[in-house]
Symmetry: C2
Subunit: 423 residues, 2 copies
Amino acid sequence: MKSFIEYSPDSDFPIENLPFGVFTSAQNHEKHIGVAIGDLILDLHVIAHLFDGPLLKSKQNVFKEQKLNEFMGLTRPYWVEARNTIQKLLDATNPTLQNDSALRQRAFVKQSEAQMHVPAEIGDYTDFYSSLHHATNVGIMFRGKDNALFPNWKHLPVGYHGRSSSIVVSGTPIHRPYGQTLPVEDADPHFGPSRLMDFELEMAAFVGGPPTQLGERITAKEAGDRIFGFALMNDWSARDIQKWEYIPLGPFTAKNLGTTISPWIVTIEALRPYIVENFPQDPTPFSYLRHDDNFNFDIKLEVDIKSEKSAVSTTVCRSNYRYMYWTAKQQLAQQTVTGCNIRPGDVLGSGTISGEASDSYGSMLELAWKGTKPIRLLTGEERKFIQDGDTVTLRGYCVDDDGVRIGFGKCEGKLLPAIPFEE
Amino acid sequence: MKSFIEYSPDSDFPIENLPFGVFTSAQNHEKHIGVAIGDLILDLHVIAHLFDGPLLKSKQNVFKEQKLNEFMGLTRPYWVEARNTIQKLLDATNPTLQNDSALRQRAFVKQSEAQMHVPAEIGDYTDFYSSLHHATNVGIMFRGKDNALFPNWKHLPVGYHGRSSSIVVSGTPIHRPYGQTLPVEDADPHFGPSRLMDFELEMAAFVGGPPTQLGERITAKEAGDRIFGFALMNDWSARDIQKWEYIPLGPFTAKNLGTTISPWIVTIEALRPYIVENFPQDPTPFSYLRHDDNFNFDIKLEVDIKSEKSAVSTTVCRSNYRYMYWTAKQQLAQQTVTGCNIRPGDVLGSGTISGEASDSYGSMLELAWKGTKPIRLLTGEERKFIQDGDTVTLRGYCVDDDGVRIGFGKCEGKLLPAIPFEE
Ligand SMILES: [Ca+2]
Ligand SMILES: [Ca+2]
Ligand SMILES: [Mg+2]
Ligand SMILES: [Mg+2]
Ligand code: NI
């Protein structure tokens, strides 16, 4: 497959990818839906009339919305037809866009000149805890090797409801939060800036398909058509605040201070060539959590930290989505097992994705092992947690046997100093 | 104050109340904003042009929305002006509506002929745990008297993010959920219908005012102008599912199966005459959680259970909102302390509201003390938890020294049998 749009071989956005996002530009203050191709964005608002396939012909308006929810609220055959149409329009042999210079000028925007936005209205966001190595690491640190995993962990994908208002797009700065912590056990709590700011390397699965009714379950077998695609996600976490507040109802203000997602949603269609075997599950989960097909993905994940003092980034973590114990289908089955209704645009966070190797851990908590093994950056600086001025960048990409590479763009955020609390 | 609309002295909706809601009717399939008065609804969509005060004159469109968010997104002076305008229009001495029979016919709808809806788009819903007696009761049951309260409980309003998609309006039936439980400690979990279905008597505070920015804190002192009003809330809970799933990230599927709210939001303005002293707090909380004024309310709360076999309801609980240890202002301060942004329409659930007396406990878990003291209904039936076919009704009302009574209407839901799980 070759496009008439030129891009470098290591572009995240070849014609095989075609992720969806929402952008504005200097020319256009209204949000438009677009697809990334090389360094450009194809503006689907402008070419909505070219979706003339049997399904989308009567649904072109979904491409004129300011968010992806309506498009995601259709079904997989629509998504496939959209992808095929876009791929055909971008193909080197297709004249429709290529040779219509007026349309072409309007239809393409440089990514460098666009502002990306959170691509969907996220009605509800759930964060899971589905990487075995991450759960084990955290368990060993806080409860010792023998009690690392809680008894429920291998029976169901443990998760909790997160805060949707504070999900922000890559590039949004995050302030170090104030909050309550307990610096000395059994002493009085302290109120002040968090001292243990962390990232969490995660992926966000976007739910698609029509909304369900309250009471309706979606089993793991049925869930495949309900996952639209994935983006990168950094679940910023204030470890010291979390530790003091989370008993007995779970993380709350330690996690709602901001969650960064990458702007492009890479679809399941684009990810299919990179499907790998599911993580072996023992014990066999209950029927509602079982699906026979593979729904795990070989997505290479990296985290860079760059201090404010230097232009040099250090890759502190190399992980992979394939380390997920529970699949996104299983997560959705768990989300809905008691009859919770879903809406297109809902987000299922993977949970921190850690591998077995100590440089594949998806958080500073694990990488620097609770502060006991500081990470050394290429600049010589040390890090136990994230410092003010640090920029944290998540990247993800897939490469198949033929060398075809698709990427997720980046999920980046800079940690700014705390805003002083005034009495 | 006397209205030209007639209603009985024990109506929940006298002219002193004027709660806001959203309804449709046979004549009107589009959602309209309305205000309850006696047995009627005043349709604000129809009389939007009568909001001619200095503030609302240019904002009449907020009353033509299909949800309350835009109105709630204004500030308290707007809310006060709206209330004053409505009170004036309904006053017995005012001819505007009273004597315009054509307008009057269009402007009033019988509540018995209207369908109520969730009154706002609830962007995010947080559930707190702010009743001392409830937290103590649960603590005693599961950890014994000496460790009843966790160390953080008196330092901050403990809370967790809930599921906004499954908040439904009074009257919506709820299905008993399937889920995983651990009937025998240390044995294998079981998958099947929950056996321990419970209600939780709560109140929902609706957040108002313009949205805040990520990073912005709202202190308890600033929070007063951010609480628009209250509704009743039943946080349906599957106790057995909760117990198995909630460690370490908190309640998830045990709570997202449905949360029922009453349709009318009673405003802070209406509730002011019923303000009572805050619950004494020791230790004194941190500055961000302190406010000097009283923001506790004498709202009498009752829960009825009616089995399917009989027309007779039994009041199983008589509690009061005044038992809240943490105020809604303090809850909002906690919600935002780390910089979490809020949006008008957000809901802060109070947490189960239990008093000291054993008939004031706000859940079956406490009323029947973990099943050890079954409740006897007036029909002679016994209840440890909620049975299929039971209707649970929450009611709330305030009475002042002059006998002026305002009410919340009802928050009702029937528990239907589980939908069988098919492999
Ligand atoms: Ca997380
Ligand atoms: Ca609750
Ligand atoms: Mg987060
Ligand atoms: Mg609930
Ligand atoms: Ni447009």
